[in-house]
Structure formats: C-alpha cells, structure tokens
C-alpha cells in the first residue's frame, strides 16, 4: 500500500514534471527548428531539463509529507506513518522506487516525443541509439534522484530542491574548473557525447552515476534510521 501513498504524493509533481519536460520540445516544434546543430543543442538542453525533473519526483521526506506543511515547518502525518509496522528503509525504498518509475516515465515520454517530432534526430541515429540515449538520460537522472532523496531526509522539501540544485550547480562549476575524463562527464554525455552521436552506451558514466546514486541512497537510509521524529 505504500506505493499508493507515494503515488498520491507525487502525482501532481509528475504532471508538472511532464509539462516542464515537454515545454522546450513544443517551443522547438512551433519555431520550426530543423537544422541538425540547432536541434541537437536544443535536445541536449531538453535532456538536461528531464534530468532535473528527478529532483521534485524524489518526493518529500518522512518529516514533511505535504507541500504546505513542509513550507510551514510542520511535520504533518509523520507520527502516523512511523507508527505503521513498516521499516524506515521500506518507507524510503518505496518512495524512491515510485519516484524513479515516474522519472523514467517522464524521460521516456519526452524522448519519444522528441524522436517523433524531429526527423533530424532519426537521420543519423537508429532506434537502438534512441534506447541507448533514453537509458543514459535515465541513469544520469537516477543519480540526481538519489541525491534529492538524501536531501529530503535532512531538509524540508523547500530546501531539498534548492540544496539539490545548488549541489548540481557546484558540480557543473567543478567540471568546468577541473574537467573530468570525458567518459564520466555527466554533462557531456547529455550533449555532444550523447549516444545519439556516439552510437554507444557511456558505461563509465552510467557506473559513476548509478554508483554515486546507490551511495547517496544508502546514506539516506542510514540518516533516516538514526533520525528522531
């Protein structure tokens, strides 16, 4: 039943995330964008936006169950939730799992719409490349999703979003200042290093993103377990 709770908590966020993810594609389409370079740049930007939707789709933490209560600093139904015969690990896992599914759904729908709307994408890439691209974007987003889950265990949901986005901004600045190997540069594989261009999966980046996501999630579980409510 926890998945229903998680779904009810994120359904409006999902609608918002989907609208956000599709909006640049709509803009590109109605502008009549067709040159490969312009579409490539715009789709790379859109993919970055799809990854960002992972942040709100992580849901709010055990402490803040509803947006209004969260911003007021109230803890809402925390006591009711924690009195259920369910471990905090399970509470966190189900929320993360539902958020992850929603996030993959947003990326898949948006990717499919982009693939359908812009023939220039199909000109130099195969359907396999498309799937490689979707998997890559999902893996990038999964790392950010786990980071957002971790933030939600210690911050209310208002600061959860800001803290996650600031972390991403700092990471971006660091990659500019100290460029990592191109194979593990998350920002690069969403743009010029995307599987639509390279026709292969960026395995090192996938490993880094999923690995750091797993570490962030495990830390989140430890934090939630030791938290007092």
């Amino acid at each position: 039943m926890l998945w229903i709770k998680a779904w009810l908590e994120i359904r409006w966020r999902l609608a918002f995330a989907l609208a956000l993810a599709l909006s640049p594609l709509g803009g590109m389409y109605f502008k009549g964008m067709s040159s490969p370079e312009a579409v490539g740049r715009a789709v790379a930007f859109a993919a970055m936006l799809w990854v960002v939707t992972a942040v709100p789709l992580a849901g709010s933490g055990i402490k803040t169950q509803s947006p209004l209560q969260g911003t007021k600093g109230l803890h809402g139904s925390t006591q009711f939730t924690l009195a259920l015969p369910v471990s905090r690990f399970r509470l966190l896992s189900v929320r993360a799992g539902v958020g992850l599914l929603a996030m993959c759904g947003v990326i898949m729908i948006s990717g499919t719409v982009a693939w359908a709307l812009f023939p220039v994408l199909r000109a130099n890439s195969t359907l396999s490349d498309f799937w490689r691209w979707i998997v890559t974007v999902c893996c990038c987003a999964a790392g950010l999703h786990a980071l957002s889950i971790l933030a939600s265990t210690v911050l209310d949901e208002y600061w959860q979003v800001w803290a996650t986005m600031i972390t991403v901004g700092v990471l971006k600045l660091l990659t500019i200042q100290f460029p990592p190997p191109s194979s593990v540069d998350v920002f690069r594989v969403l743009a010029e290093g995307s599987p639509l261009q390279t026709h292969s999966l960026p395995w090192p980046m996938i490993a880094v993103s999923l690995g750091s996501g797993a570490v962030a999630f495990l830390v989140a579980v430890r934090v939630a377990d030791s938290c007092e409510y």
Binding site: M1, I4, K5, L8, E9, Q65, S66, L68, Q69, L74, H75, G76, S77, T78, Q79, F80, L82, A83, L84, P85, V86, S87, E228, Y229
Partner: protein, 297 residues
C-alpha cells in the same frame, strides 16, 4: 509485577541539554486501562514517542509485550500489535476517509472489519470526504477508528478526546471500555482531562518533570488519599510538624488543609490533639491528588 505489557525502567531523555524524562519507571499491566497524567511538558508525549520508536531514550530500557524495543526486528512486530492515536491527529491530507482506511488495513493482519463498520457508523464518518475537509473532532474520530480497528493488543491514546464534543467523548470512552472489557485490550490513555481518566482508568500514573510522582490503582489511591480540613479557633503562629503521610500541607490563617496519602487516622488524631481544632476528613478526587502533587512538586 508480572504480565506487564509495557515495562520501562530508568527512562531518560534530554533535548538540547534539557531533561524531558529523568529516570521514568513505568509498568502497564496486561488488560488494564492505564491513565497517564501530567502537565504540558511533563514528558507524556516523549514517553509515547519512545514507546513507538520515534525517539531513542538517552538511557534506560523499554520492553513492550516482553520484547525489548531496541532489539532489531522487534520494532515491526511491536507496532503491528499497537493502535496509536497521536497527539497531533494529523493524517495524509491527500487521502479521503475511505482511502486512508483502505491504506491502513493491510498493515495489520488482525484488522477487524466488524469494528471498522461499527465505528464508521458510530462516528458518522463520511467515506468520500478528504481529510483536510474534516473538522478536528472528525479527524480525531477517524484516527480512533484507524487505531481501534487494528485488532491491537495495546491501544496508546495521546489526548484522544481532543476536539471531540461531549457526546462524542462519551461514545469514545464507552468504546474504549468495551474494547478493554470484551477484547482484553490494554489501554494506555494519556490525557489532561482528569475527569475522563477518572471515569475509565483502573490504574493511573502522574508524571511531572519527567518522573513518576504517583502511581497505582485508582481505587487504592482514592481509598488511601484523604483531605483533612482543619480549622483552629485562633491563628497558628508556629509551624506544625505533621506526622508521616501528610503529602501536602496548605496553611492559611486559621485553616490548614492536608492531603494525606496514608496514616489518615494518625493525622486526624494529631489534628484533634490541638486545643480549639475542628477536623473534617473528606474524600478526594483524582483532580485534587493531581493538582496537589504537581503543584507541590
């Protein structure tokens, strides 16, 4: 005492250096209706949160159903056997009454459909109404339904009558007594409402500043406690050293009021031994015992 459903020994808890519990000992016998009383900030909710695993005690030990709560694996089994009404009465704002019942039911293998139907009818709960649209009283009733339909062996009620009108309070108290008598459910009832506790409890504990100051069977307490009202013909100029058993003494002009916890005969004799004294021995209510102890403490 054997057969304790809840047993806490030397429970301590501090928040930012301020002690909320200072070595609390607690024993709730199986099948009892246990009234847990105290002022605001006395440590009642902290105790309940520790029992439910929401807080960790700084020291001391707690067992529920004979299972230590700090042993991994016990917590889920314990919570499966407990029905809790929280102090805040907050439930998921995005669910309707029917949805939260459907959500809660599968977590409790002993869920009682018959009780669920009974309470929906008794409390007049509208199944399709969203939780934020319910009044505080209706939310309290819904929370009671969710706690009392679990088939729980232990019911922990933290200010359960908060927001209820007098009729609903009576219905709720009757149901709590019915669960205790007919189902053998142990009830741990934390409240400010001394009248309600006095109406249903068979054992009470009064806590103040995180420690127990009175504990025992309500009948025994009311039997052993007496108020001695003494009026002297003249003002008392020297303080009187009262015999053992005088819990709290208030002296105003020619009048002395003593709350005696035992040795009522001895104290009465002592009072009568003073020339010009008129002694009256009165029964006391739980409220008097409570007020005298927490003020004296």
């Amino acid at each position: 005492m054997n057969n304790l459903v809840v047993e806490a020994v030397g429970l301590r808890k501090s928040f930012k250096g301020r002690a909320a519990l200072s070595g609390l000992d607690l024993g709730v016998p199986a099948g009892s209706l246990f009234g847990f009383l105290g002022r605001n900030g006395a440590g009642k909710t902290t105790t309940i949160k520790i029992l439910m695993g929401l807080l960790k005690s700084s020291s001391g030990s707690v067992s529920i159903f004979g299972l230590p709560i700090d042993v991994a694996g016990n917590a889920l089994d314990i919570r499966r056997r407990i029905g809790l009404v929280t102090e805040d009465k907050e439930l998921y704002p995005y669910m309707t009454v029917a949805q939260i019942i459907r959500f809660t039911r599968p977590f409790f293998p002993k869920w009682r459909d018959d009780l669920e139907r009974r309470y929906i009818k008794l409390f007049d709960l509208p199944p399709d109404k969203k939780i934020p649209d319910l009044s505080k009283g209706m939310r309290s009733k819904l929370m009671l339904l969710l706690a009392m339909s679990r088939g729980a062996e232990l019911l922990i009620l933290d200010e359960p009558t908060d927001g209820l009108d007098p009729v609903a309070v009576e219905e709720m108290l009757r149901e709590v007594i019915r669960l205790s008598v007919e189902e053998g459910t142990t009830v741990f009832f934390s409240s400010h409402q001394l009248g309600e506790v006095e109406q249903i409890a068979d054992r009470v504990m009064i806590i103040d500043r995180g420690r127990s100051i009175v504990c025992g069977s309500l009948d025994d307490l009311k039997e052993s406690y007496r108020r001695l009202h003494i009026v002297f013909d003249e003002d008392i100029r020297t303080p009187i050293q009262w015999l053992d058993g005088a819990e709290h003494v208030r002296q105003e002009g020619r009048t002395v009021s003593i709350l005696a916890s035992r040795n009522v005969g001895g104290l009465t004799g002592q009072a009568q031994s003073f020339p010009g004294s008129h002694v009256e021995v009165l029964p006391v209510t739980l409220k008097e015992i409570f007020l005298d102890h927490v003020r004296g403490n």
